[in-house]
Symmetry: C2
Subunit: 211 residues, 2 copies
């Protein structure tokens, strides 16, 4: 298809598509003349992922490029590619200095993951984000014992099993990788808004009918 | 206690405490002379909540003031106060225009909550945030059938029950309200980072030992 059709089918303006092409977020089409190029279904699919990252996830273009480069890096296996792509997504910054609270938070994060039966990968940015979040709870004196954290881990475990099955329904390794990245970004607001709605529902039940 | 002690015990500089006092995030202390005021444990507790909102949640000062005003509004019952306070927390913007996709997303959000047995409160900002998130999934053509969304709702339901119990351990209605707001903000990054770690764990298991 030509640029105009790619624009119409994707709902992305031709100016934005050209910008994504220049920024390397979209692979170039096949040149068919000095001024025209032909695009395929893979461009449409990739455009969908770019919009998930940039427009919905509000991820900076440079970061999105990093994520896409990881997806396309065929020198590595599927597991490394998915790990690198998801790790390149924006995360809260790790703690600035490793004070006593951070050391306690690291121990807590390790204990929690052991209890859940997970491998501990300290250089996973999500591990660092967890340590930062736990250090904030500890520093402010809010409850965060392992027993109080376990329900969050168990919930995440259940969702991950569901998500792996969902991703497995995509046809090829590349589309699976793209879906894994897109769904990580797109389902975060789903999960957070449902958490708030569930809290409102539980609070309403509790206060109207305390038992 | 005097300002210096409040600063030492809270770890917040006196300059920042004075700023919070000026901005109305902290109630004034009891004047004991022209230049000195006395602060109590409730100031220490409130300071902890302000830091959770402003420093950890990166919530604008004006928004934090709105949240605190809702907590302190003793003309309304506990349920209204908690609802107003949590609703004042920053949420993704609602959809800009109500096109066909938004209408489909609204129906989907309604059906999901009905299946979960929740009351549907369309003016809850979290409901609007859910509609926005589902509209993005629909628009980009990623999977979001009710069956695929239910596990997120069920997980949120389980966490809400846990959170209500956790908050119930705080002594007074006011401390419970404060804890509800603080924990909503502070546990979001815990949940999101655990989700990414659970995904990494599930992907590692799946790809090393496909079954």
């Amino acid at each position: 298809m030509r640029l105009a059709e790619l624009s119409e089918r994707s709902g992305v303006t031709t100016a934005t598509i050209k910008y994504y092409l220049r920024e390397g977020l979209l692979p170039p089409g096949e040149r068919i003349s000095a001024t025209q190029a032909e695009y395929g279904e893979e461009h449409l699919r990739r455009l969908r992922l770019v919009r998930a990252l940039v427009q919905v996830g509000r991820i900076p273009v440079a970061t999105a490029r990093e994520v896409l480069t990881a997806i396309d890096d065929d020198r590595t296996d599927q597991l490394t590619r998915i790990g690198t792509a998801v790790a390149a997504l924006p995360q809260p910054a790790p703690p600035r200095r490793r004070d006593e609270t951070v050391v306690t938070a690291e121990a807590l994060a390790g204990e929690l993951q052991r209890r859940l039966g997970w491998r501990i990968v300290v250089n996973n940015p999500a591990h660092q984000a967890l340590v930062t979040a736990l250090a904030a709870l500890l520093r402010l004196g809010y409850p965060c014992a392992v027993e109080q954290l376990l329900p969050y881990g168990t919930a995440a475990d259940g969702l991950a099993a569901h998500e792996i099955a969902l991703i497995g329904e995509f046809a090829s390794p590349t589309t699976q990788l793209e879906a894994a990245v897109a769904l990580t970004v797109l389902y975060e607001p789903v999960l957070l808004s449902l958490r708030r709605l569930a809290q409102a529902e539980a609070a309403t039940r509790q206060l109207r009918d305390p038992s």
